[in-house]
Amino acid sequence: MTVTLVPVLFVGGALFATGAFTVAYRRSFPGALAGLPLLLGGAGLDLVGVSRFATSSADRVAGQEFAVVLAGLTLAAVAAGAALARPGPGTPEGRR
């Protein structure tokens, strides 16, 4: 079974949807934050797949380039989220 654009898009879509599910369904902040890399990873995989299987000669590496940008953006978003994470004022740790 050879790999074409369809399986790549399918895996990317599944990863994106799992990330969306995690962000939407988790109630804890770190839980929702962990879904962000899945969301952006799915989008990046689709970009790399299009760059590999359905690209024009003028813009061959644009998909890979934006996958790199998305990886950096993921790290920036998680770093900002981890910096902002703190318990609510009603919890013992929040009053510390």
Binding site: T18, Q64, A76
Partner: protein, 165 residues
Amino acid sequence: MDALHSALFYALAALTLAGALAVALLAGERRLLGLLAVAVGLAGLYADLSAGFAAGAALLAYLACASLLLRTLRAWPALEAADREARGVPQQVGGLLAGAVFLVLAYVAYRGDFAAGFQTSGEINTSAIGRLLLGRDALAAEALAGAFLVGVTAAAVTSRVRRVR
């Protein structure tokens, strides 16, 4: 793609999706094992699709994400308490919408009439990506660097405030 690369693709896809499900369904630090599996699987998928530089960047970024989340979980264990509460209607509707998004994306993947073609002309390597990032799309790279700087600065400042307390 030859048979070996195809088999590798499906094995790495299975690893990535299993890791993603672990991130979605497990709790606590076990969730980060899933994120590590996603990091390895996604980097392998990128490399299998001839995107070696993106694979290295994604692997580094995802490992850093896992370590940041581990640090957050260890610093504030109480943040996990919210996951033990029952999900409200917004969470359930959000979960259902995520499932609907997957159905739409799967339908588009199968029914979309994408133009197929693998161009063999032109260069496809790290220096070509670097020229795009630092030349044509320098503004996007600058914006990314700004966002990264804000995130790291916020992390450093918050960490320092916690230590002072």
